[in-house]
């Protein structure tokens, strides 16, 4: 059992959970993830490690409610426990001094990009961070990202805060400006990462994405997470999750992500019908 030290709803449907997990905290590096199982009947799902504290022995994840597991997870509170927590998994982000780095994050990626932005800054890079949200009320960790970036750009889909637009709009503006960008990191929903990669491709700027294919074990044992990168099949959990966004076959990823859609809906309906009285 793994104890929840802190639980907070950052913005509607996006939650922060801090776990007591000394062994993982000791090893965690930017870009790595954990796999959690809420309880004995739960599914194993991967979540990026958004923060960690070696002295406290804790790790933090930030997640968005999208289906049964994330909803059930969201109902837990400080002091509760989950059944299983394993990590840190995946190859850590490659951190080195390259010059100017743009770190982009959308939805849960706003938190997931934090450790990478911080590490790239510490490695001596100029870090420009861009975060997007559909609307102002869905924005979080603005100050946190500001503190690890040389420049922070915020963009909202409905223009309720900062300029109206999405990450690709902001990226294009930067690429067409004075600044020479050497590297881009993108974490968030698949569409955003795909669009970010498509935006940077004509400018030939290397773009690292964090692929979020469906996983089971997370250790290279099942092959469920396979993705097509540069024409080769790779396992996202052990060969990634970092890949070159210009090489990724996004259609295969998006298609495989939708493989259980009907069952996911069934699962959620089944769960909701039995738990509608429960509240966060």
């Amino acid at each position: 059992m793994y104890k929840i030290l802190k639980k907070q709803e950052l913005v509607p449907n996006i939650h922060l959970v801090k776990f007591l997990a000394p062994a993982i905290a000791k090893k965690a590096q930017p870009g790595q993830f954990v796999i959690i199982t809420v309880d004995e009947k739960g599914e194993r799902i991967p979540l990026t490690i958004a923060d960690w504290d070696k002295t406290e022995g804790s790790i933090t994840v930030v997640f968005m409610e999208v289906g049964t597991t994330t909803q059930r997870f969201a109902l837990l509170n400080t002091g509760d426990s989950i059944d299983s927590l394993v990590g840190p998994l995946g190859i850590p982000a490659h951190i080195e001094k390259v010059g100017t780095v743009v770190c982009v994050g959308g939805c849960y990626g706003i938190a997931a990009i934090m450790p990478i932005a911080r590490a790239m800054k510490e490695a001596g890079n100029k870090v420009i961070s861009i975060i997007e949200a559909r609307s102002k009320y869905l924005l979080f960790w603005e100050d946190e990202l500001k503190s690890v970036s040389d420049q922070l750009i915020v963009t909202t889909g409905d223009g309720s805060y900062a300029p109206q637009g999405w990450i690709p709009d902001q990226l294009t503006q930067i690429f067409e400006g004075e600044e020479k960008v050497d590297l881009i990191f993108a974490i968030g929903c698949t569409f955003m990462m795909k669009l970010a990669s498509e935006t940077s491709k004509p400018f030939d700027i290397k773009t690292i994405v964090h692929l979020n294919s469906i996983m089971v074990d997370g250790t290279g044992m099942c092959g469920c997470c396979r993705v097509l990168v540069g024409g080769e099949t790779k396992f996202a959990c052990v060969d990634g999750p970092e890949f070159d966004g210009h090489q990724v076959d996004w259609d295969v990823l998006l298609s495989r992500q939708s493989g259980y859609q009907d069952l996911e809906i069934q699962s959620l309906q089944n769960w909701e019908s039995r738990n509608w009285r429960r509240t966060k």
């Binding site: 062994a23 009947k41 739960g42 599914e43 299983s84 840190p88 250790t219 092959g223």
Partner: protein, 469 residues
């Protein structure tokens, strides 16, 4: 009136089974086990040979005539005690050992008629003991103060742990999954090996004092060198052959194409067959094809039936004679309605335009000259390509060595195929204080061979801890 003179010949006693039509729709165990009177009757068939050849067929050399004699006399407690001198997981081995090529293959009765049902009797003894509710705990030797880390909780890891704890050492098992048992929990289905049996064996280990740390991926959460830093005196690597083989043909990334590892892990470990009661989904294909012909393929095909498939075909590129699966498994599968499509190999999977599997293109094969494995090599027949519909495909053509741990431990030498090189007589690796055994050394083999390796390593580790490397 007694009929002493006439020696009535008792035939090999069949084991009651669930009816094929019924069992193909449920996940309960297929063979139901011997009741005591039948077990005793079967035991009476054993000739109690002076030179019991059966024993040489058993990798852990159980004293087979001795335990069978006790069953014959109704001393079931004595029987299980005898078995446990040599085998810590009899309820498992009695069910999944390929007896027909091991102990029973060497039984003298098999020369002319049918061998004694050694496996079924072993299973009977273990089940009897579990049903009594009290499993005897053997005496442990005085604590030695030595600490051993066992990586992986499959049959080999459990054996190493069980042996060394009795010798007074302090043993901790590190397991990547949330539940211990290795392939016994994530691979072999409930209808062949009920998970409650594995759980009972794990509980027994805990009672002996073995500690379990699940959710620990050695190589990720902790490294082998760090285990030594934490004060462990010896490390055993029994991580199995956990790397799925794919066929590298077009269409393999379509939705509905599974590796057997994924298909079985979803169904067994994650209990997707109980979805939506359990959260993990699995595609319940109506028309399923399985590639491969070993136990893993049989388990996948029979799982597919139970998940509601109307048609399940095993597609294999050689003929029936070359199928590596246990005869009993093949027999059970066919009884339940699994079809065989022999001498055919896939060329590519066909999608429906929406990324979902809708068929597979195959080619007919014929058998040519024997290859390195001694089996006749399948050769494609030109112009024999054909297409067949399916909505789910399971690839069960073998497993490889998972590099996650070994990549992080470069001072352990590997062979060409990525398996760990271990001394045949001791299990020692090229890294001091580290042993390896089971599937990660041999490639996917059997439960009992993994246990045999575990026993050998336990002896070697004990010698090391008392005498030196």
């Amino acid at each position: 009136m007694e009929q002493k003179a006439k020696k009535e010949k008792v035939p090999r006693q069949p084991m009651p089974e669930q009816e094929p039509k019924v069992r193909a729709k449920n996940f309960q165990e297929v063979p139901l086990g011997y009741p005591p009177d039948i077990a005793m009757r079967e035991a009476s068939r054993c000739l109690q040979c002076k030179n019991p050849t059966c024993r040489t067929g058993c990798p852990v050399e159980i004293d087979i005539p001795a335990f069978i004699n006790r069953i014959k006399e109704g001393d079931f407690k004595g029987a299980i005690a005898k078995i446990k001198e040599k085998n810590a997981l009899p309820a498992v081995c009695g069910r999944v050992c390929p007896q027909e090529v091991q102990c029973e293959n060497n039984c003298i009765l098999g020369k002319k008629g049918e061998p004694v049902a050694i496996g079924r009797l072993e299973r009977f003894s273990a089940d009897w003991e579990r049903a009594q509710g009290e499993v005897s705990i053997p005496e442990k030797e005085a604590p030695t103060g030595k600490r051993i880390a066992v990586v992986g909780s499959g049959p080999s890891g459990l054996t190493v742990a069980g042996d060394l704890i009795l010798k007074g050492h302090d043993v901790t098992i590190f397991e990547a999954f949330q539940i211990p048992g290795g392939v016994l929990v994530y691979g072999i289905p409930e209808f062949r090996l009920p998970k409650a049996i594995v759980a009972a064996e794990v509980e027994y280990m805990k009672k002996l004092g073995v500690k379990f740390q699940c959710d620990m991926v050695v190589g990720a959460t902790v490294s082998i060198d760090e285990l030594f830093e934490q004060g462990y005196d010896a490390v055993y690597i029994g991580v199995g052959a956990g790397l799925p083989a794919f066929m590298r043909i077009p269409g393999e990334n379509l939705i509905g194409v599974y590796s057997a590892n994924e298909y079985l892990t979803r169904s067994n470990l994650m209990k997707a067959y109980l979805f939506p009661k359990y959260d993990t989904p699995i595609i319940r294909g109506k028309n399923v094809v399985v590639f491969g012909a070993g136990n893993v393929a049989m388990d996948s095909a029979r799982t597919a039936l139970r998940l509601g498939a109307e048609r399940v075909r095993i597609i294999y590129r050689r003929s029936r004679e070359e199928m590596p699966a246990r005869i009993e498994e093949l027999h059970h599968a066919e009884q339940e309605g699994v079809e065989l499509l022999l001498l055919a190999a896939p060329l590519n999977f066909i999608g429906d335009g929406d990324g979902r599997l809708k068929g597979v293109r195959c080619q007919r094969m014929e058998l040519g000259e024997p290859d390195e494995s001694g089996r006749r090599r399948p050769e494609p027949i030109k112009g024999s390509e054909f297409e067949t519909e399916c909505d789910t495909a399971v690839i069960a053509i073998g497993a490889g060595a998972n590099p996650l741990l070994t990549k992080k431990t470069p001072d352990i030498q590997l062979n060409r195929r990525g398996y760990i090189i271990a001394e045949p007589e001791t299990g020692k690796t090229t890294k001091k204080g580290v042993w390896a055994g089971g599937d990660i050394v041999t490639g996917q083999a059997t439960v009992i061979l993994a246990m045999g390796a575990g026993r050998m390593v336990a002896n070697s580790i004990h010698n090391y801890l008392t005498l030196g490397w």
